[in-house]
Symmetry: C2
Subunit: 376 residues, 2 copies
């Protein structure tokens, strides 16, 4: 055994053909294609095909894939009733984790994990996860669930099921770009959790459930909620600089900045910044955008030499707010997109599996006696 | 980054004060006390206290701990109804994972994860998990759930809720020893999964849910089911040798033998062998025991030089069968016990946390163009 590596930093734990990150250069590629090119030109559906097949689809392939995905929009029998029984006080991530876990109980063959079966199950979960989130959010607002519309793409269908009206082109595109840019990101904690769990040859539901549980942590997917809370605490743009400088003076962590991987600007943040500005203008939220931008300027002035830049969470907060999403739906949006990446990693792991079984360093006593209780 | 370490074998990923394994010597200790001494002298309650506090309790401490655990036997409000809605065709592990996840939705403060809060939540899950399993098993048999009896210990209470009658002393003790011997085992896959998930500062429910999902895999907790299936396939003791030799000739894996960690006899198997024999005698299942014993003899003759010995799964199969448990409850029994170990590791991780974020080796292309769809 080697010595203890805290957090497994610097250890390579898996091989992947999906995403490549060059933190020093601020570069992210999916199957070699720069994330910026995908954000500008692709759709979420096409990006998922790319991640799962290591190449872009032909027109016929994309049509077939999209058709399959749309056929998965509706919840399996019994699941709509199950979502209705969730206490309306539940945090959506606890709800989503529980409902994705429950999907296994509504699958006649939940444990099939050939690569083909895992792919089919992943498509089903990806397809119907938006219906789970939308139905729960409507349920807690006292509203009936809205059936999916299979004439719509992934993003438009979700926003339609959530709000009961078809979204504008701009909103749909903005949301779709968020889905594209969050779909995969190397061996982040939730992706790693999914690979660890599937490595016992468990099942797709178990692995995705683990990943959702990981993502809800504040050190992972919960970060964009923290950004929004900070933005809400700053009453106006002219108070932003003092707020940030106060936090720096108190040595508090400023949410949405820095990333263990990126030492240069997070390449996903650049796409989102442009998007957030446009949406803020369209939806009358320019004060939020200018606050964000001011914080970025102050942080850059104070910390750029140390390599602390806004990360993907920083501008997704503004984006989701402009789309009209409640704060506690931010992390579930991350999950909807990342199901694509998690699933791809599950499939990669199944195709060349080895059980994850690291060692532990034991720091307790040895050869201790069992002292009878009346002698303790 | 170092080179790719498949399965993280040989990497030390955590520190623990709970269990120590010396595979070469066939040795397992909890906080320094040999597992055999605990199996002979301790109770599950005392063992859990030991794992969570790094020492054996005084009489007063054990009484207080037992009282707290018994106060957690009953399901939180709304959970009994939730268990009733589970399709009766569901595999119990999918059910258990989903219901433990759902406990978060019935906790007013599910995300509290100070060490104290995590300990209290762990105690609650450990205390009520038996009620979940028993209620579901009765539900699928068309029977009403039985309320827990807080005058009984952990093991007796579970068997009472399952069967509707108080178990014999021998059964209770046998079950309790199974709980003691399965409670912790270093950084096995499910324990590692729990530590990975809690390291995002997620929550106890998310981490335990991930662990249950891992445990249900056939390369992990599912192994004792495989042993029982094999025993059922062998019609009688005199056919056992030929059956095993046939499997060896076909190069099939014989369930219940070998372990990545132990290269000598699994020290937990020795305890269980004695126990299984006694129980088999008491319950008229000696044919099952003699079949097991014959398989062990054949395997020892063929493989002992290579260090392949029966592992903990091999004799727990006979034990659980003699207690009257259905095959698909074997892995949930493992889970009931291992919640103790998972929780202890969650608490250790929270006390000195660092996000698990290993690297991946990217094996795909670089600098690929985004080719427009009509040019592909």
């Amino acid at each position: 055994m080697s010595s203890y590596v805290k957090g497994l930093e610097g250890i390579v734990a898996a091989q992947t053909k999906m995403s490549y990150i060059d933190g020093a250069a601020g570069k992210l590629e999916y199957v070699g294609i720069p994330i910026g090119d995908l954000a500008s030109n692709s759709t979420f559906e096409e990006t998922v095909f790319l991640l799962w097949n290591s190449r872009l689809p032909t027109k016929a392939e994309l049509e077939a894939f999209t058709k399959d995905l749309r056929a998965s929009y509706a919840l399996p029998k019994g699941m709509a009733e199950r979502v209705k029984t969730v206490p309306t006080t539940a945090e959506p991530m606890h709800m989503l984790r529980t409902m994705v876990s429950a999907l296994a109980m509504h699958d006649a063959d939940p444990n099939a994990n050939s690569v083909e079966a895992a792919r089919a199950k992943s498509l089903k979960v990806l397809g119907c996860a938006p219906a789970i989130v939308a139905a729960y959010d409507r349920s807690r607002r006292g509203l009936d669930a809205i059936a999916p519309d299979a004439s719509l793409g992934f993003s438009a269908n979700f926003l339609y099921m959530l709000n009961g009206e078809k979204p504008t082109e701009a909103m749909t595109r903005a949301f779709d770009i968020c889905m594209i840019t969050h779909a995969d990101h190397g061996l982040n904690n939730s992706t790693f959790a999914a690979r660890v769990v599937i490595s016992t040859l468990s099942d797709v539901y178990s692995a995705l459930t683990a990943a959702i549980g990981s993502l809800r942590g504040p050190l992972h997917g919960g970060a964009n909620e923290g950004v929004m809370k900070m933005l809400n605490e700053i009453p106006s743009v002219d108070k932003a600089e003092a707020y940030v400088m106060d936090m720096i003076a108190r040595k508090e962590r400023i949410m949405g900045f820095g990333h263990r991987v990126y030492k240069a600007k997070d390449p996903r943040a650049a796409e989102l910044m442009t998007l957030a500005k446009q949406l803020a203008e369209d939806t009358g939220n320019m004060d939020l955008y200018t606050k964000s931008h001011k914080i970025e300027q102050v942080m850059e002035r104070e910390y750029a030499a140390k390599g602390i830049y806004p990360n993907v969470d920083f501008y997704s907060a503004t984006t989701y707010h402009c789309i009209g999403l409640k704060l506690d739906l931010f992390t579930p949006m991350f999950a909807l997109s990342r199901i694509a990446g998690w699933s791809g990693h599950i499939i990669e792991q199944l195709a060349d599996n080895r059980l994850f079984r690291p060692g532990a360093e034991y720091t307790g006593p040895h050869d201790a006696p069992y002292t009878p209780i009346d002698k303790r």
